[in-house]
Structure formats: C-alpha cells, structure tokens
C-alpha cells in the first residue's frame, strides 16, 4: 500500500502523464479521404497491387455504410474529411538499429517508460513501437527469428510475407464487418504482424506501443497474430497520446487466429488521452478486436485495462470454432471526467465442449458513462458448451452511470451458461473500516478498487499488472469525494 501512496504523492496534479507533444518533423498527408489518398498510402508503403485493390474495395464498401448508432455513447458527427490519414516521423527509411532512431523519439518512449532499451533486455520483452502511423523499431527481431517467430510491422509483412498475410488478413474481421473496420481496412498505415510456427513457445512476451503524436491525424493500425498448431504467444499492447483540444480518431483492427492446441494471450493497457475534465479533446477509440479459435483445444484470452480515451467502443471477441476451444475476456474499464465507454465481448460457441469466461469490472466516477455490452451465443451444434459471465460495476459519485446489456442466445440443450451482474458503490462501511485502521479516504478507495479489479489484474503479465494498478490509481486521483 505504501508504494501506492508514494505514487499518489508524486502524481498529484499530474492529470494525464503522457500529455506531452514531441517536436518531430512529420511527413503528413493533407486531411481528406478519397481513392487517391488510399492509392497514395498504398504506394508509400510499397504494397503489392493486390493489397491496393483490397483497400479500395473496403473503401467503396465503407462509403455505403452508415455510422453505427446503437452504442450508448454520444459524440458530434465525425468529419472524416478533416482527418489526415497518414503521418510518419520524417526520417523513417532504413532503420537498422536503435541508434539510428531519432533520439527525441527514443526520449519520448523513455518518458513513456516503454521498454525499448537495454534495461528491457532483462525484462525479456520484444517491442514494436508504432508512432502515429508508422512502425518505428522492432527489437529482438533476430532472436525471435532463430525460433522461426515472425514479429514485424504489418507493412513489412505485407511486403516480405505477402502470401502468408493475404491468406489471413480480413478473414476474422472482414472489411465489411462494420463501419470502422471498413475504414481501417481502407486506410490502415501500420501495425503488427506476428506468426508463431508450429509447436513453438514464443520465448518472450511480444509488445507493441502505440502513440498518436501529430495533430489532426487519425491512427488506424492493424494487428494480425497467427499462432500455428501447438504454439503459445503472449502479446502486450500499450497506448498513449498527447494532450490536444480536438478529438482524434483511433480505429484499429486486431485479428487473432489460433490453430489446434495453440494459445494466444492478448493484453492491452489503453491509456489514450481522455480529454480534459470538461470533455474537450481526447481520443475516440473505435476498435474491432476478434480472435478465432480455429483449431481444437485452442485458446484465446483477452485482458484489457481501459483507462484512457474520451470514447471507447470495443468488443474483443472469440469465435470458438474448434472443439474444446477456450475463450476468455477479462476487462477493467475506468471512466471519469466526461469519458464514455461501451465495451464488452462476444463469445460465439460453435464447437463442442467450448468454454468461455467473461469477467468485466467497470468503474465509473464523476460524469463517466459506461456500458458493458456482451453477447454469448451457443449455436445448435455446440454440445456441452459452457459460459460463465460476471459483470460488476462500481459507481463513485452521483453523476456517473453504469449499464449492463448482455445478450444471451442459447440453441443447444446441453449448454450451461450463467450470467451475474451487480452494480454498487463503495460502501460507507468498507471505507470506515479502512479509515479506522489508519488509511486516508483516497488510499482506502484505491485499495477497495484494486481489490474489485484483482481478478482481472491477475490475468496480466507481471510488469503490466503493476503498471495497470498504477494507472488505475492515477485515473481515480481526484475522482473521489
């Protein structure tokens, strides 16, 4: 507890820690979206013609689609012509080692505490860092290559592993899936590609840090992870953005594929700029994340800690196609200030003996608005499928809101599903008990909230769990009372 208290001390007034802007010359396309912009992006990224056509098809589809309006979120209409769809730090070409990266960029990552450098060798984390739209550096690539793991930016993967990428890209989240997925397919500029070969346990945690830096840019990264038979990978994703008055759009797509006996563990700590206390500025985080447990006994586990963004709209989902496949979703989401989050998951049970677990912990403070929206579908052929869902909401203050919208569809009589949801506030008794043992109100709240989230933090890799707890404390700073 004392460590947390120390964090409080030096974090007082540090509302959004990562709100600085890095002065780097960027190569940015003028705002606007049309077929020419898409061709330009594709050309800049030296993509095969096949890819250019794929993007254009997605763009044409997007033009036909209305923006979704079913989520419990409110924002002014987004002017998609006012966004710049490509921004790259200027001297990107041909980076051979970290020494060649702009020192100011490295400095930025250091400020963010990103494990790019030497110290992190010990932490055994391989990092792909995406700055605005472009993947800047991928560490440990050679070491990973020794065991056959491909870990690179998706742009490189499209160039160097075209056949492999095109076989899977868009098969889990088709470009026509939804409005933002279509937009992403048309304009995505970078992201991460991971391939784990058969019977390989990825020797280290893989990690990507995303940062939006340039003004008026959108970020549209795309991640594709393929875990071949019997393989294992744990992937971490962290996100930050500078403090700006206007809203910036982040519309990412993540696709995961797990073959027979493969396991993918995907962890996110999302701390995009949430806007100021009056709701000015902040990131619109409209993300489509979906994994398919294609093989028998495969497993996909999503863990997310969502503390940032003005608006979060994301539903990391699992299609449990293989027999005995397992899907998991563990989430902590915090909304404070004027933040809005509509988040949850979909568990689609298709195979026999498929199991899924959903644990969602929502914390709303101040004027924060939050909804859990989830779907559990047990198809007619999913014999003996099991689901357990637990959704808990904690309310702090009388102007916040927490909603639960679960959809449960069962078409198989051998299914067993249980769904529980509770909404409550921190009880005066709990607070009094802690305070009577000498804790300040803020420490007491922090302790109770951490306890509330424990089940989810336990799913995070160790370093991330520490970071997540710290983030949670910062997020709730000043939100109490």
């Amino acid at each position: 507890m004392s460590a947390t208290t120390d964090n409080y001390e030096h974090l007082v007034n540090a509302e959004y820690e990562h709100g600085f802007v890095t002065e780097i010359e960027s190569d940015t396309l003028p705002p606007g979206l049309n077929e020419q912009v898409i061709r330009t992006i594709s050309t800049r990224k030296q993509e095969p013609a096949l890819m250019t056509e794929w993007r254009l098809a997605a763009y044409r589809h997007w033009c036909e689609m209305p923006a979704p309006n079913w989520a419990a979120i409110q924002h002014p209409p987004i002017d998609f012509q006012a966004i710049s769809y490509f921004s790259a730090p200027k001297q990107t070409p041909k980076l051979n080692s970290l020494d060649e990266v702009d020192p100011r960029l490295l400095d930025t990552y250091n400020k963010l505490g990103i494990p790019l450098e030497e110290q992190k060798v010990l932490a055994n984390v391989a990092v792909d860092a995406v700055f605005d739209s472009v993947s800047v550096a991928t560490t440990f690539r050679s070491k990973l290559a020794e065991v056959g793991v491909i870990f690179c930016s998706i742009s490189e993967a499209i160039r160097d592993h075209t056949e492999l990428v095109m076989r899977y890209l868009g098969t889990i989240v088709p470009p026509s899936d939804n409005f933002y997925a279509a937009l992403n397919a048309a304009v995505f500029t970078d992201g991460t590609f991971v391939y784990i070969p058969k019977h390989t346990r990825c020797p280290m945690e893989l990690s990507t840090y995303f940062r939006i830096n340039a003004a008026k840019t959108g970020q549209f990264e795309r991640t594709l992870i393929i875990a071949d038979e019997g393989s294992y990978v744990s992937y971490l994703e962290g996100c930050t953005a500078p403090q700006r008055d206007e809203n910036q759009l982040h519309a990412a797509v993540v696709e995961l594929i797990a073959m027979d006996d493969a396991t993918i563990k995907y962890s996110t700590v999302q701390n995009w700029y949430p806007g100021d206390e009056n709701g000015r500025g902040g990131i619109y985080n409209f993300v489509t994340k979906r994994g398919e447990c294609r093989g028998a006994r495969s497993k996909i586990s999503w863990t997310q800690v969502e503390t940032g963004s003005a608006i979060t709209w994301k539903y990391p989902s699992c299609i449990l196609r293989g027999d005995d496949a397992i899907g998991e979703f563990y989430s902590v989401a915090v909304t404070r200030g004027c933040q809005q989050a509509d988040t949850g998951t979909k568990m689609i049970h298709l195979g026999r003996n498929t199991r899924s677990t959903i644990v969602s912990k929502g914390i709303s403070a101040q004027r924060g608005q939050q909804s859990y929206r989830g779907l559990v579908r047990i198809a007619a052929k999913a014999e003996q499928a099991r689901n357990h869902t637990q959704c808990d909401s904690l309310l702090i203050g009388d102007r916040c809101a927490a909603h639960t919208f679960p959809y449960i569809e069962v078409k198989n009589p051998t299914a067993r599903m249980e769904h529980e949801a509770t909404t409550s506030k921190i009880s005066a008794d709990q607070l009094f008990y802690c305070q009577s043992r000498g804790l300040s109100e803020e420490d007491a709240v922090s302790m109770i909230v951490n306890g509330f989230c424990k089940q989810v933090f336990n799913e995070l890799p160790m370093e991330f769990a520490v970071e997540a707890q710290k983030l949670l404390s910062i997020s709730l700073e000043g939100a109490v009372g």
């Binding site: 979704p68 069962v410 299914a415 067993r416 529980e420 909404t423």
Partner: protein
C-alpha cells in the same frame, strides 16, 4: 449486435388497417373531446411509426411475421362471435375452476354480464365494464384511461387505445380493503365460422386503488375447447395511490391457436406495493410487456413469472422497471421451461434514474432447456445513473442434472416422471406465490399434462 441499424423506413411493418376499429367514432367515450383526442394521438402514432421488425432492438428476437400472416379483423360482424349452444357449454368448461370471487367475464373481449358475478360489492368499490363507464361516467377514469399507458414506445398499446371499446374497470376508494379476490376471465372462442377471418380483440382494463386500498386480482386468459384462431391485444392501466396494495396473478392458458399480446402499464405512488405473478403456458405466439413506473418513494414492485414453452410456441416477456425516484425496491424473478421447438425471449430492463438513490433492484432469469430444438434468448439489462444503489441480475441456462434424474429413477420413478418432478421443482419457488390453491393446482396440472405429452 455489431451491425448498424439501417434507415427507419426499412425497419417497420405497415399497420394492417383491419386491425383497427372499423367504426372509430362509435367507440366508447368518444363523445368526450379529451378521450377522442387521446385516441387519435394513439392512432396517429401507430400509423406513422408502424409496427416493429426484428431490426428494432425491443423486437430483435421476436418476428411479427406469423402475426401479420393472419388477416385479423378488429370488428367482425356480430354473427361470427354469436355464442351458440355448443360454445355455451365450452364456455362453462373454460370457466373452471370456480373460485370464490367477484367475477367479470369477457367473452371475445366483450363484457358478458350473464357469466359475471358482481353482487354484494362493499361500498367504495366499483367494478364495471369499460364500455359502461366510458359512456356513462367517463370522468371517473380521468386519472387512468390513456393517462398511464405509454403509447409512444409500445405500438400495440397505441393500437389498443385507438380501437378499444370494452374491458374491466376497478375503482377502489381510499382505505378500502377488498377481502374477496376479483377475477377477470378472458374467454375466447376464435372465429367459430372457419370461412371468416379471425378476430383481433383489444380489451382495455383500468384499475385504480385509492390511498391505502388493498385488493387482489386474478386474471385468466382461456380459450374454449377447439377454439379457432384469434388474437388478444390486451392493455392494463393500473394506478396505485399511496400505500395501496395490489396482488395480481396473470395466467395465460390459451389454446395453441391463439396469439396474445399484453401491455401492462403500472404506476406506483409513494409506499405502494404491487406483486404480480405471470404464468405463460398457452398461445402459439405471445408477447407480454410489463412496464412499471415509480412516481413516489418507498414503493415496492415484484414481478414473478413462469413460462412453459414447447410445440413450436414463441413466448416473449419484456420487463421495463423504471426507478425514477429514490428509495424504491423491485424484485423480478422469471423462470422458463423449454422443450420441443419452443422459443422463449426474456428481456428485462432495470432503469435507475439520476436521482433515484437507495434503489434496491434485483432481477433473475433461469431457464431449463429440456430438448434439442428449443431456443432461449435472454437479455437482462441494468441501466444505472445513480451511485447509491444495490442492483443485480443473474441469468442461467441449463438442463436437468443427470445425478438428480438418476436419484429419482433409483427410487422407482420413470424418466418421464423424474423429468416432470424436477421441472416442477425448478419452478416451485415461483409457483408458491400463486394463490388460491385451486389455481395453483390448475397450473401444476397443466404443466404436468403438457410435459407428459411432450416430445423431447
């Protein structure tokens, strides 16, 4: 869920004209300007907005197609429903079991005094037909009729208000406790003449309990044996004054040819107490909306339900419990038993508005799937804008435990007996709240009979 909603024109069905009254000017109470006005507002709403399709969130699991496929007619010529000798006997049977009650019988949505019993009503209690009250003393319903029902969000309620002409009125004065239950029996025959299009009825009931008044209402929907196709589109408007207490049992026991829609709009003032139990067993296609609005603090609402769905039935229960003021409590418990090709939908929403502190609300929905082709879609929702609340919901879908089945078989019961016994055991905690005893027995017998003849 993730697909976007297309434009509003594509997501409605047009309202079939024949479902509306053919003689709107002659409807009860239309000599009063305000009543006529309220009816025309409702009519406008349902005509302009149309009927929902599955693209409408509240109807995503329940399609109106089978309803629309029937050419229901709201105002059939009198001879269609003239009760002949044969139907007379059938009605007598449908009235069983005879209960010690004040009884109002509606035959095909029309008040039938010859079967009703309203003698010796204590003073301070008025029970009458809606048609009579609207025509003779409409002022008595000024606070209830069209005042509580939400026509903007419930198209079938709007349709009912635009076309209703009869139903039940219960008005109980302040401080009066009515010991003997009131019974409301909907007996339907369907079209007795095969060549004629089936009827759609719009019974409308207004119930107002004064301050501290107490009453018990038993509402049953039954069909005569060999009833034809028909549709009941019932609306209840219930206003509970401060500290009023209403116990309300609703039994939907209609034939498998019946279509059934209910919109129950309940408004509760300070300290009032409502407890309802909803039994759904009959009908080919049914949709029930139970809507509660708290307008005073310290009020309590309980809604319980049991649905038994098989034989290609579709049964849909929607609950909308709006805690708009502080310090109220609500408890919702629904259980479902599904077999055959039955499909059930449960959609329950607890809304806690921004200032509704100290709300205590709990919703549970448990489902038992007994066979291969049954389907359950359940959607318990919490929508909460206040922090000092205790709200929860729990949902389960499961099947009979093989260990339990084996235990019963090892004691000599057949598999079918064991299944019946365990299914009734599953439903027991809901059914115990059903009184009087004869009703309880009637429901249990019906469940047993249904499960005995069911295919699994």
């Amino acid at each position: 869920m993730m697909t976007s909603v297309s434009n509003s024109n594509a997501s409605i069905h047009a309202m079939p004209n024949t479902w509306l009254s053919a003689a709107p000017n002659q409807l009860a109470g239309n000599h009063m300007t305000d009543i006529k006005q309220a009816r025309s507002v409702a009519l406008k709403q349902v005509l302009e907005r149309g009927l929902p399709t599955v693209k409408n969130e509240g109807w995503r699991y329940t399609s109106l197609r089978s309803l629309l496929a029937q050419n229901f007619i709201c105002t059939p010529s009198d001879d269609v429903l003239t009760v002949n000798e044969e139907a007379h006997t059938a009605i007598e049977t449908a009235l069983q079991p005879a209960l010690e009650t004040y009884r109002v019988v509606l035959i095909n949505g029309r008040y039938a005094p010859q079967w009703s019993y309203l003698e010796n009503l204590p003073s301070g209690v008025q029970i009458d037909s809606l048609n009579a009250v609207l025509n003779q003393s409409p002022a008595r319903l000024a606070a209830v009729f069209t005042q509580i029902a939400d026509t903007a969000h419930y198209p079938f309620t709007a349709l009912n208000i635009a076309s209703c002409d009869d139903g039940l009125v219960i008005l109980i004065d302040d401080g009066v406790t009515l010991e003997r239950p009131i019974e409301l029996l909907h007996v339907s025959t369907g079209s007795l003449n095969q060549s004629v299009t089936p009827p759609m009825m719009h019974p409308h009931h207004c119930i107002q309990l004064g301050t501290g008044a107490q009453a018990q209402l038993i509402e049953r929907f039954v069909s005569i044996e060999n009833a034809g196709v028909y549709c009941t589109n019932a609306v209840l408007e219930i206003a509970l004054s401060p500290r009023a207490v209403l116990r309300h049992a609703r039994l939907q026991l209609e034939s498998l040819n019946a279509f059934h829609i209910t919109g129950l709009h309940l408004q509760q003032a300070i300290g009032s107490d409502y407890s309802g139990i909803n039994i759904g067993i009959g009908g080919a296609w049914s949709r029930t909306d139970l809507i509660t609005r708290f307008i005073g603090e310290q009020a309590h609402c309980e809604q319980r339900g049991l649905y038994l769905v098989g034989d290609q039935q579709i049964m849909d229960y929607h609950l909308d419990i709006a805690h708009q003021v502080p310090n109220c409590s609500s408890q919702e418990q629904f259980k479902g038993i599904l077999y055959g090709q039955g499909k059930a939908v449960f959609d329950g929403r607890i809304l806690v508005a921004a200032n509704a502190q100290q709300t205590d609300a709990n919703m549970t929905n448990n489902n038992l799937l007994l066979s291969r082709n049954a389907e359950i879609d359940t959607k318990p929702q919490l929508e909460i804008y206040a922090d000092d609340v205790k709200c929860s919901h729990g949902t389960t879908v499961g099947q009979l435990d093989p260990d339990m089945l084996f235990y019963l078989q090892s004691r000599g019961l057949t598999r079918s007996q064991a299944r019946q016994m365990l299914s009734l055991g599953f439903a027991a905690d809901v059914l115990t709240t059903l009184a009087p005893e004869q009703l309880h027995e009637q429901v249990i017998n019906q469940i047993e009979r249904r499960l005995e003849t069911a295919t699994f």
